[in-house]
């Protein structure tokens, strides 16, 4: 169930990586770093929806997600002169966004996975675990199970899973965002995947 704009990498029947063509965004960031202020609009259009989706999934709080999105975009703007020519902007942006979440958590902002998510999330989640047609029949119930399972996962497994399987970052990019190795990200995402599969298997038919 991989969207057309994603290229999946499957190992032993498990979708371990997806990738997207972000080269136009990288070029926009390059132009913006070089001083082309007009490139910010293009950058915002490309980054903001993805960052918001990530932030909202992590916080389940629209106002907080908006606040963190603003922080992230302003920090990208503030650090634009340090952007390395030819570098990928997406992993960097996600790393800044994640740092914002961690800082908010440290400041005492309550960040929880809520029980009410919209159907878009459920569909994303189902697509990301490569669910079968039968499982899709009871999508909402299944989504509830998956959401609860994801919420119970350790933060590092949940974020690794989301970055790789939902945001389409490569394993290397996700490892850089999380400050760890590719092997560790693969393991974390796989454990999350296995937990979701087990939750689906335990679910009463």
């Amino acid at each position: 169930m991989t969207p057309a704009w994603q290229a999946g990498v499957v190992v032993d029947g498990v979708l371990v990586a997806t990738s997207r063509d972000d080269s136009s965004l990288d070029r926009a960031m390059d132009r913006y770093a070089a001083g082309d202020d007009a490139a910010f609009g293009e950058l915002y259009e490309g980054l903001a929806p993805r960052l918001y989706g990530f932030l909202h999934r992590q916080t389940r709080d629209e106002a907080l997600a908006d606040d963190l999105l603003q922080q992230t975009m302003l920090r990208i703007h503030g650090a634009r002169g340090r952007f390395v020519e030819g570098a990928a902007v997406i992993p960097w942006a996600f790393a800044i966004a994640r740092r914002g979440i961690i800082d908010a958590h440290r400041r005492g902002r309550r960040i929880v996975l809520a029980q009410d998510a919209d159907e878009g999330d459920a569909a994303d989640l189902l697509a990301s675990v490569d669910a079968s047609a039968e499982e899709l029949v009871d999508a909402q119930g299944l989504a509830d199970v998956l959401r609860a399972t994801l919420a119970d996962l350790p933060e590092n497994q949940r974020v690794a899973f989301e970055l790789v399987k939902q945001e389409g970052l490569s394993l290397g990019e996700a490892a850089a965002v999380l400050g760890t190795t590719v092997a560790a990200v693969k393991l974390r995402a796989h454990r999350a995947y296995e937990a979701l599969r087990a939750a689906i298997a335990r679910r009463p038919s």
């Binding site: 603003q70 503030g78 960097w92 919209d118």
Partner: protein
Amino acid sequence: MTRDRENARRLQATIEDAIKIAPAPSRAQVSRTRSRLLAAGLVASVVAVGLTGGVHLNGRPTTLVYGTLLGWAAIAMAGAWLAIGRRGAMLGPPTRLLVACAAAMGPVLLAWYALLEHLLGAAGEAAVPVSMHVTCFAITLAYAAGPLAAVGATYRAIDPVHPRATGALLFAAIGALGGALIVLHCWVGELAHVALGHVLPLVGLAAAGALVGDRLFGTTSLPGRGRLG
């Protein structure tokens, strides 16, 4: 993911207004400032070496002095490169690698010195008073001060992932540079003195780098809220 479009549009307008009010320097401007400050930092170190009396060989083998200087400087550069060299990407190596390199830097410097001393058959001095350790400790820090200030000013907010580890390794590398320079000044070759007077400062700097890393190198130090936000 459904989202109120009006809210999203308003947020975008707020952000765009905020960046108009507070423009950020471009890559070329940052690069120019960085080059100037780093050059000034290195000049400050060289001036500090001059002010403390310049090179004192005092009968030491030239190969030992310059071998230590070059070896330690190379190790310092490698550490700094690992910490802030971005190699075509914006995010650095894994946290554990940075921490391991910061922790290993002191022992590696000592091992390099001991190896040279052994190969060159240079006899170490007899035990020296504690005051000499303290003096060299302070001078090593003074030699490192210029590059430290330059790096702290020019590499702000470069690491959203592990700024503390980056701070530890970068400060350790600059401490190693200070240690490399003090070998020109201090003729005491006793290994314990080299460890306490020349290498220990980098350990302290690594700890300081870990402490201030979040503020200096983390993106948290960048404004995250526009005046309108």
